[in-house]
């Protein structure tokens, strides 16, 4: 009994120090207010102020839209890439590398690249649109388009990464299942619908959680591309927290927003993982 504990203790110490202790500190900060004359206990006041803040509501909505806009398309793309490249003969390794390339570019570099692609008028996107006779757009400067522009970058960046997991999932499907379906006379669509997709369900539950966490925890590109603007259009939860803590010096509000974000993420993760239990027991 003592040996396993002893072996685990280094990790436990680090977990406690860098994960659980900060959580305790965040809870303490969230229930206190730092005024110009010292710190005092304020109960749930910070949370009340947080939910009353229209910018926070906006950040919540933005993040929900962003999660929806990144998770679903990048998973669909990942599946499409994986299906296309699962067989794909001699060019297989090369093609996989091509689709995986965006993943290897650091996020900040990718964002800087898109900053120039998105430049109104002179950027690559507007340049080609103009040649086709379309008017360009102020992709990052129009509050209606900025979040969508950032979503496109994220999908482009992440789809290849999720493809890796789906590929692994595809290769784990036993050949017997496919052969049995073939003997039963199932066409390609029926095989995808009734064999491949159900078998991939645990993979998707896992990748879905990763994608969801990414949608909340990745903000580097927001820093590079828009700084949360124009007019709060790309303000995501993490950026909101950063602004409260670093620019407004409001540790209480930032901590409260952190607690809300953590709770949301924990709930969503628990929900997706519990749902993924279903098919495995049924199999």
């Amino acid at each position: 009994m003592l040996l396993p504990l002893a072996l685990l203790s280094p990790s436990l110490v680090f977990l406690a120090l860098f994960t659980y202790w900060p959580v305790v500190e965040v809870l303490w900060d969230a229930t206190h207010a730092a005024t110009r004359r010292g710190t005092r206990f304020v109960g749930l006041d910070n949370f009340a102020a947080l939910f009353a803040d229209p910018t926070f509501q906006r950040a919540l909505l933005n993040n929900a839209l962003y999660a929806l806009g990144t998770v679903v398309p990048s998973l669909v793309l990942a599946l499409a890439f994986a299906l296309a490249l699962n067989g794909a003969g001699r060019m297989r390794a090369l093609m996989r590398a091509v689709f995986f390339l965006p993943v290897m570019i650091p996020l900040v570099a990718a964002a800087a690249l898109f900053l120039f692609l998105f430049l109104p008028g002179i950027g690559l996107i507007d340049h080609h649109l103009a040649r086709l006779g379309f008017a360009g757009a102020n992709w990052l400067g129009d509050p209606d388009l900025a979040l969508a522009a950032i979503t496109v970058l994220t999908v482009w960046k992440n789809a290849g990464y999720y493809m890796l997991f789906v590929l692994a999932g595809l290769q784990a499907i036993p050949d017997e299942a496919r052969e049995a379906a073939l003997l039963d006379g199932a066409g390609p669509w029926q095989r995808l619908r009734h064999v491949t997709l159900p078998a991939l369900r645990p993979t998707f539950a896992f990748v879905g959680v990763i994608a969801l966490l990414n949608a909340v925890t990745q903000v580097d590109h927001v820093f590079v591309l828009t700084k949360g603007g124009p007019s709060d259009a790309t303000k995501l939860l993490l950026f909101y927290i950063y602004e409260q803590a670093a620019e407004r010096y409001d540790a209480g509000r930032a901590a409260a927003a952190t607690v809300v974000t953590l709770a949301l993420l924990a709930a969503l993760t628990a929900l997706s993982l519990s749902r993924s239990q279903g098919p495995e027991t049924a199999r």
Partner: protein, 442 residues
């Protein structure tokens, strides 16, 4: 027996002392240095610091590049909290008030006194417009290092082509609108060339709007007190409506937020004929533009006026006396007429020290580059830069609304009321602690 470990500890300390031989009296210091505008500033700064180190063997200074002005503020605050502040920081001039209120930077009067100077003699070296952003509550918190104002840049070829005289750039808002209309080119619905562009991203938009407001006769904030801004005023409404009309009525300025690099990019690519942007970009534009260009004062409505921009050198709180002294030596050296003059020629910023313009190198340079002289002349009309408690979020409050107006989502009047409300809420803790804290009330 008890003291065996004391002896061991002493021996260890002594060994550590011997094992790390240090050059006699050398003080290692860091200089936080932002890269706010285009060009080869970082390379120039490395060269400057190398020169300092070679001429000061007792100090070893290291430049640390810290990104934009806003990022530099954050990193400085983080380093102060971590107890490892740099000996000097090149800090955006309008952050000094906030830092002084929070006691994160220290006044330099004791060091000035040690040099045998009075405060007046020290501050008298600089252009007067710079002082309200450096002297706070009668104490010297910063030494101006490089400063800027917005400037009007025009493409001389486009002017000729449109039948305008490039030697007579627009001087009033009416002339500016008129020229912008003539310079704008369209193909059907698509605009292929804009008459005028001005940046409206965070950090830049508020500054340009301040220039327009000042040109409209207005003030932006209370120069004496860090808790008041004048967003919801007729002068600012006029300025914001003017910008909005350029976009939505005259259609000579693109809609939505425009980032600084997009504006200079469009100007350099010939897709914008005029732009209002910092003098800090002057050297970059001069080196890059493939067409003749001119610079001029920012056009006025009521009066000729622009805000200063740029940065001062400050010292964070919590430095050891040794590091403070070394940092002060570096600050004195960097802001001397020779060095700040050299930096001005390398970047396009002004040298804040008036004596820099009496040096022969500067006179020759200005004769060769008359565009740099325009920028200096405009300094006579310059006013201090908006600085309050919580400067960055208070500035973002108006910039968010500016971006909404430029995108056509809000009308100027309601935008200004919303910005004023947000700014007042941000500054309330300070106002309640100072202006509203009356004797005998408690």
């Amino acid at each position: 027996m008890i003291s065996w470990w004391k002896g061991a500890a002493l021996a260890l300390v002594a060994a550590a002392g011997l094992a790390a031989p240090r050059p006699a009296f050398a003080t290692d210091i860091e200089l936080f240095f932002p890269v706010p505008v285009d060009g080869a500033l970082a390379r120039n700064m490395s060269g400057l610091i190398k020169e300092f180190n070679d001429s000061h063997p007792d100090i070893k200074a290291t430049p640390v590049f810290t990104g934009s002005y806003d990022d530099t503020l954050l990193k400085t605050r983080a380093s102060i909290k971590a107890g490892k502040p740099p000996a000097a920081v090149i800090m955006s001039a309008n952050f000094l008030t906030d830092l002084a209120i929070e006691r994160e930077i220290v006044p330099m009067d004791d060091l000035i006194g040690k040099d045998g100077k009075t405060q007046d003699a020290f501050t008298g070296q600089f252009f007067p417009a710079l002082l309200p952003n450096a002297v706070i509550d009668r104490k010297v918190y910063g030494v101006p290092f490089h400063n800027s104002t917005p400037l009007l840049y025009i493409n001389a070829d486009h002017f000729k082509e449109a039948g305008l005289d490039p030697e007579k750039p627009p001087r009033t808002w009416a002339e500016l609108t008129d020229a912008a209309r003539k310079l704008t080119k369209r193909e059907g619905d698509r605009t292929t060339r804009w008459g005028l562009m001005m940046p409206s991203n965070y950090d830049y938009g508020g500054w340009i709007l301040e220039a327009l407001t000042m040109s409209n006769g207005g003030r932006y904030y209370n120069e004496e007190y860090g808790g008041e801004v004048y967003y919801d005023t007729p002068t600012m409404l006029g300025a914001l409506t003017f910008w909005s009309d350029l976009v939505h009525k005259a259609k000579v300025h693109p809609a939505g937020e425009q980032k600084g690099p997009a504006v200079t990019g469009a100007f350099l690519a010939g897709q914008a004929s005029m732009m209002i942007i910092s003098t800090g970009s002057l050297t970059f534009i001069r080196d890059t533009a493939k067409f003749p260009f001119r610079v001029a004062f920012v056009p006025m409505n009521v009066r000729q006026a622009v805000p200063i921009g740029g940065a001062s050198l400050v010292q964070p709180a919590g430095l050891s006396a040794e590091k403070r002294a070394a940092g002060w030596t570096l600050i004195q050296w960097l802001t001397s007429p020779e060095k700040s003059g050299w930096w001005s020629r390398a970047t396009g910023y002004f040298a804040p020290n008036k004596a820099a313009y009496d040096l022969p190198e500067m006179k020759t340079f200005l004769e060769k580059n008359p565009d740099a002289k325009i920028a200096v002349d405009q300094l006579a009309n310059a006013k201090p830069w908006f600085a309050t408690y919580r400067t960055v979020p208070v500035r973002k409050a108006i910039e968010d609304e500016l971006q909404s107006v430029l995108a056509g989502k809000r009308q100027p009047k309601e935008a200004l009321a919303a910005a004023q409300k947000a700014a007042d809420a941000l500054m309330r803790p300070y106002v309640e602690d100072t202006a509203l804290r009356l004797p005998g009330a408690e």
